[in-house]
C-alpha cells in the first residue's frame, strides 16, 4: 500500500526528536483522527552575496529542524521528508513548500493519506509563523 520511499522514511525517520534550542515551533493536528505533528526550527541568519552584484545581504535560513509525530506511517514519512526538504533552505523557500511537493518527494501516497502531507505543509508554515512572531516580540 505504501511506496518504498514512504516505508524507508517510516522505518528510519530523519530528524526525529525534540529540539531544546528551537526558535520556532509549529504543532498541527487533525482532531478528528487524533493525529498530531510538531516541527521544531532553529532559524539562523547568514550573509550571502547576490550573484549579480557585489552587495551582501542577510537571509534567514533553517539551520536545523526536528519533528515529532503521532500518526500513521504516511504522516511520519511526510514529516521526515519535509524536514529533509527544508533543511538549509531560506524561510521564504520553506514557506513555498506545498503538500504536493512532499507527495512528489515520496513518490506517491494513497489518496486516503493525502491529508497527512497537508499536515506537514501546515506544520512548517506554522513553525515559521511562530519564529516570525517571536522575532517581532523581541
Amino acid at each position: 500500500m505504501y511506496s518504498k520511499k514512504v516505508m524507508d522514511h517510516f522505518q528510519d525517520p530523519k530528524n526525529m526528536g525534540e529540539m531544546t534550542d528551537a526558535n520556532g515551533v509549529g504543532t498541527v493536528g487533525n482532531p478528528k483522527c487524533g493525529d498530531v505533528m510538531r516541527l521544531f526550527l532553529r532559524v539562523k541568519t547568514r550573509r550571502v552575496r547576490s550573484p549579480k552584484s557585489e552587495v551582501q545581504k542577510e537571509e534567514e535560513y533553517i539551520d536545523d529542524i526536528k519533528f515529532q509525530t503521532l500518526g500513521c506511517a504516511a504522516a511520519i514519512a511526510c514529516s521526515s521528508a519535509t524536514t529533509e526538504m527544508v533543511k538549509g533552505k531560506t524561510i521564504e523557500e520553506a514557506l513555498d513548500l506545498t503538500n504536493q511537493d512532499v507527495v512528489n518527494e515520496l513518490g506517491e501516497l494513497p489518496p486516503a493519506k493525502f491529508h497527512c502531507s497537508v499536515l506537514a505543509e501546515q506544520a512548517i508554515k506554522k513553525a515559521i509563523e511562530d519564529y516570525k512572531s517571536k522575532k517581532v516580540k523581541k
Binding site: Y2, M7, F10, Q11, P13, M16, G17, T27, N30, K32, C33, G34, D35, V36, R38, Q68, T69, L70, G71, C72, A73, A75, I76, A112, H115
Partner: protein, 443 residues
C-alpha cells in the same frame, strides 16, 4: 517461514478437509442443481445434504436454512427483507410513508451501536430513506448490551431487534438468549392484548395489526466457531453466519429464517432457496460451509479428544481451551510489559480468540506496520487505518476516548495459533510500541 497470522476474526484459512470436500463440485460433479439430468441431481443431492448438516448445527429445519453469499448479504436479507415484507402486504407503502410522517408510526428497529457495518449501515440506510425508525442502543463500558435497555426501547411499532452475538472488534459476547426470551415474552403479551376484545386497534398501520410481532435477528458471524448456535436455545428468528470465519471458503453464508418469519427476497430471479434468494446455488461453497460446520461441531463436542480419527486435520488444531489460555497469556503479557496499555471490552464475557488492546500515545497503523515488518499480521481500530478516518465506532461506543482508540490493536487467535507465536508477539510488541512512541510528541 510464514508470517504469524493473528487476524482470524478477519478471515481464516480454509481447512484442507473442506477443500477436499469441495473439489468434486468444481470438476466431476459441476452440474447446476436445478438441472434434471444426473449431473444436476448429484449437485442437488449435495446441496440437500449440506442443508441438512447446517440445519442440525442450528437445531432447525432444512427449509429454514437459506444459503447466501456471506454475512453481509445475510444481514441485508434479514433486515431489508423483513421491512420490505411490511410494505408489501397492503400496497400501503405510500400511505404508510405519508401517515408515518404525521403519526410517527413507521416500523421500528432496535439495534446496537457496536454492530458490524453490515447491520449498522443497513439500518441507517433504511432510516435515512424514511422507511423505519431506529434505536441504536449503547452498550456499557464493558462492551455488553443490557437486556433491560432493550426492554425499555421496545415500542408498540417495534418489529425487529438485531443484536450481534459476538462483537468482531472487541470479542464481547451479548446476552442473545436472554434477549430472545424477553422478546418471546413480549410477543406473547402482544397476542393476548390483541385477543382481548375491549380495544380494537384503530387505524394503526399494517405492520402493527398484521401479526404485531417482534422478530429477533442476530449476526452470529464471530460466534459460530466457539459458541452455542442452536436457534431454539437462543430464541432467535433470524441468524447470520458465514463460512470464511470458520475455516470455510469466502463467498458463502447462511441466513436462518424461522418458519413464518416474513422475508421478502431482495433479489429476484428463479425459485432457488425456497424463493428467498434467487440465483444458481454455489454448490462447492455450500458443500464447503457444511464441511466447515461439521468440523466445528466435532471440535465443540467434548468427546472428540479421545475419538479423534487419525486422518482428521482437526487433530493438529488447537482446542478452544488452548486458544483461551494463549489469549490470556497474550493479554496479561502485554498489560504487564507495556505501560499505558489497556484491554478494550470485558475479559470474562469475551471470545476465546480476541485480544483488543489500546496503547497510549502510539498510533495503530504505525504499530501494525511495524508488526508486519516483524512478520506479525494483526489489525487496528485506529482512525488512520479506516478509510473514513474515524476511530472505530465500537471503541467509541464503549466510551474509549478517540485518542486512546487511536492506539488500538486487535490480535485474534485461531486454530493454528501456537505458543511460540504468542511468545514472539510478546517479545517484539513492547519494543514496537516504544519505537512508535519515541516518534510521538507526547511522552
Amino acid at each position: 517461514m510464514y508470517p504469524i497470522y493473528l487476524d482470524y476474526a478477519a478471515t481464516t484459512p480454509v481447512d484442507p478437509e473442506v477443500i477436499k470436500a469441495m473439489i468434486p463440485y468444481f470438476t466431476t460433479d459441476f452440474g447446476n442443481a436445478s438441472s434434471i439430468h444426473s449431473y444436476g441431481r448429484r449437485a442437488r443431492q449435495a446441496v440437500d445434504e449440506a442443508r441438512k448438516i447446517v440445519a442440525e448445527f442450528l437445531g432447525c429445519e432444512s427449509s429454514e436454512v437459506i444459503f447466501t453469499s456471506g454475512g453481509t448479504e445475510s444481514d441485508n436479507l434479514a433486515i431489508r427483507g423483513l421491512i420490505a415484507s411490511y410494505e408489501n402486504t397492503n400496497n400501503t407503502t405510500k400511505v404508510l410513508k405519508y401517515e408515518s410522517k404525521k403519526q410517527n408510526t413507521k416500523p421500528h428497529i432496535i439495534t446496537t451501536q457496536i454492530e458490524h457495518h453490515a447491520v449498522l449501515n443497513t439500518v441507517k440506510n433504511l432510516e435515512k430513506s424514511g422507511m423505519i425508525e431506529a434505536t441504536y442502543l449503547k452498550p456499557n463500558s464493558d462492551g455488553i448490551v443490557s437486556v433491560r435497555d432493550i426492554e425499555s426501547a421496545i415500542k408498540p411499532n417495534t418489529v425487529l431487534v438485531s443484536v450481534m452475538y459476538v462483537n468482531n472488534e472487541i470479542g464481547t459476547v451479548q446476552p442473545i438468549r436472554e434477549i430472545g426470551k424477553l422478546i418471546e415474552k413480549e410477543n406473547k403479551s402482544r397476542v393476548q392484548e390483541s385477543k382481548s376484545p375491549k380495544e380494537k386497534s384503530s387505524g394503526l398501520p399494517d405492520f402493527r395489526t398484521r401479526d404485531s410481532h417482534i422478530y429477533f435477528h442476530t449476526d452470529a458471524v464471530q460466534a459460530a466457531e466457539y459458541f452455542d448456535m442452536n436457534v431454539q436455545t437462543l430464541h432467535v428468528d433470524l441468524l447470520t453466519f458465514t463460512a470464511h470465519k470458520i475455516y470455510g471458503p469466502k463467498g458463502i453464508g447462511v441466513l436462518y429464517i424461522k418458519k413464518g418469519t416474513p422475508i421478502k427476497p431482495e433479489q429476484t430471479g428463479g425459485e432457488h432457496e425456497y424463493r428467498k434468494r434467487a440465483g444458481t446455488e454455489n454448490v462447492p461453497g455450500i458443500v464447503g460451509i457444511a464441511k466447515a460446520v461439521e468440523i466445528v461441531r466435532k471440535s465443540k463436542s467434548p468427546k472428540v479428544q479421545e475419538s479423534e480419527s487419525p486422518d482428521s486435520s482437526a487433530g493438529k488444531n488447537q482446542s478452544q481451551n488452548d486458544i483461551l489460555r494463549l489469549r490470556n497469556k497474550l493479554i496479561e503479557g502485554i498489560l504487564k510489559t507495556v505501560k499505558g496499555s489497556r484491554l478494550n471490552g470485558i475479559r470474562e464475557l469475551r471470545s476465546p480468540g480476541n485480544v483488543n488492546i489500546s496503547v497510549k500515545n502510539a498510533e495503530g497503523e504505525a504499530i501494525l506496520l511495524n508488526l508486519d515488518l516483524q512478520g506479525i499480521a494483526a489489525s487496528s481500530g485506529s482512525a488512520c487505518t479506516s478509510g473514513a478516518l474515524e476511530p472505530s465506532h465500537v471503541l467509541l461506543a464503549i466510551g474509549v476516548p478517540a485518542e486512546i482508540a487511536h492506539g488500538s490493536i486487535r490480535f485474534t487467535l485461531g486454530r493454528h495459533t501456537t505458543e511460540t507465536e504468542i511468545n514472539r508477539v510478546l517479545e517484539v510488541f513492547p519494543g514496537i510500541v516504544e519505537k512508535v512512541r519515541s516518534i510521538s510528541p507526547f511522552k
